[in-house]
């Protein structure tokens, strides 16, 4: 036979075979073929699931940190400062505990409570006079807040705290907490935050003046 005849012959064979057997494709599939998981496979799967469950049960307590890290849950310094600002700066009659007239006593008292020598920056050049200060509860100890006021009655607060474990050392930074702008920095011994409802540029001028006086 020639190649061409071969090819035709073979195509015929394919067609004949398909005609003969294609009907099988549409025969209903016997139910037994739908199984057909051996029962042991189900038992094995169940056993594996139980095993996994037990393992997870044992492993979970180990995965849990033995001691939740409190630092992870501490409110950041600028937010703590801004909240304190929002609480006390609107006070008309009692904005401070100790008035600026008793500044010497104020500084001595707060320095003693914070166990560090505090200094009170002078912001007269920026138009702000010291009103006084108060003691606040901090994350794990006392915090000092100094309040300043300008001629229009606008108030600034300087929040001074010992650095908490969660407060990473940082240079001069800005944060916005609602209406309150905050410039803050944390050094090895102390964290400072200057808060006020001023725009960023205005507050930056005052804050850099504070920074210069406190970090010579």
């Amino acid at each position: 036979m020639t190649e061409e005849e071969d090819r035709l012959e073979y195509a015929d064979q394919n067609n004949a075979l398909r005609r003969q057997f294609d009907s099988v494709l549409t025969e209903p599939i016997p139910a037994r073929m739908y199984m057909k998981r051996p029962a042991w496979l189900d038992y094995a799967r169940a056993a594996v699931l139980v095993g996994v469950g037990v393992a997870v049960g044992f492993a979970l307590p180990m995965l849990k940190p033995a001691q939740p890290n409190p630092a992870a849950f501490v409110t950041p310094l600028p937010i703590r400062a801004a909240r304190a600002h929002l609480v006390y700066s609107p006070e008309v009659r009692h904005p401070v505990e100790v008035d600026a007239k008793e500044q010497e006593h104020l500084v001595k008292w707060l320095s003693k409570r914070l166990d560090m020598q505090l200094r009170v920056p002078v912001l007269a050049n920026d138009g702000f006079e010291l009103l006084g200060g108060r003691l606040l509860p901090g994350v794990d100890g006392p915090v000092a807040q100094f309040m300043y006021q300008d001629s229009t009655g606008k108030r600034l607060t300087l929040y001074v705290t010992r650095p908490h474990k969660g407060d990473e050392l940082t240079a001069f930074r800005f944060a916005q907490e609602g209406p309150v702008s905050v410039f803050y920095w944390v050094d090895r011994d102390c964290g400072y935050a200057l808060s006020g409802e001023l725009d960023r540029a205005q507050l930056a001028r005052v804050a850099s003046s504070v920074y210069r006086q406190l970090e010579p």
Partner: protein, 164 residues
């Protein structure tokens, strides 16, 4: 394992098995054994051509069945000899296709049917049956030629040439 992946191939496996084995019950037994083996071995399947994998399993099951019946040919059959069981048919002239197929050596039948029914390439067949492509081609051409002669009545099922 997800048996649902395999189910769509059942009709093709059955068609092939029917042509390969000849009788319906024997063919479905082959399919059944193939499916059970596929389920047991499914973890060995690497995502790829699931059809080729299933047909290769069917091939293994088929070969085992032949061995169990001790009718596996020990040597490659050439077209002048027939090791396949001789069907009980009285007519020696023209065989119907199904019986003619059963006169082919099983390994020729496998290759021919995978190509003709499943449209497999030589490479597919080579993978499914675990034989070199050259062997695929020689088995296919011998199988085709033998089938042609059987259908044309040029050769009897007993392996003797029909005297013209």
């Amino acid at each position: 394992m997800d048996y649902q992946l395999i189910v769509p191939y059942i009709p093709n496996l059955r068609r092939y098995a029917r042509a390969l084995v000849g009788d319906r019950d024997g063919a479905d037994d082959l399919v059944q054994d193939t499916l059970e083996r596929a389920v047991r071995k499914f973890h060995l399947w690497r995502p790829g051509d699931l059809r080729a994998w299933l047909f290769s399993i069917m091939h293994n099951v088929f070969v085992n069945q032949l061995k169990a019946r001790k009718i596996a040919p020990q040597v490659e059959i050439d077209e002048a000899t027939i090791a396949a069981p001789i069907p009980t048919v009285t007519s020696v002239d023209v065989l119907d296709l199904q019986r003619a197929l059963q006169c082919l050596a099983p390994e020729q039948r496998e290759v021919l049917l995978l190509v003709a029914l499943e449209d497999m390439t030589y490479a597919d067949v080579s993978n499914a049956l675990g034989i070199p492509i050259g062997t695929v081609m020689s088995r296919l051409s011998r199988g085709r030629e033998r089938l042609r002669k059987l259908m044309a009545g040029e050769v009897s099922r007993s392996g003797l040439r029909v005297v013209q």
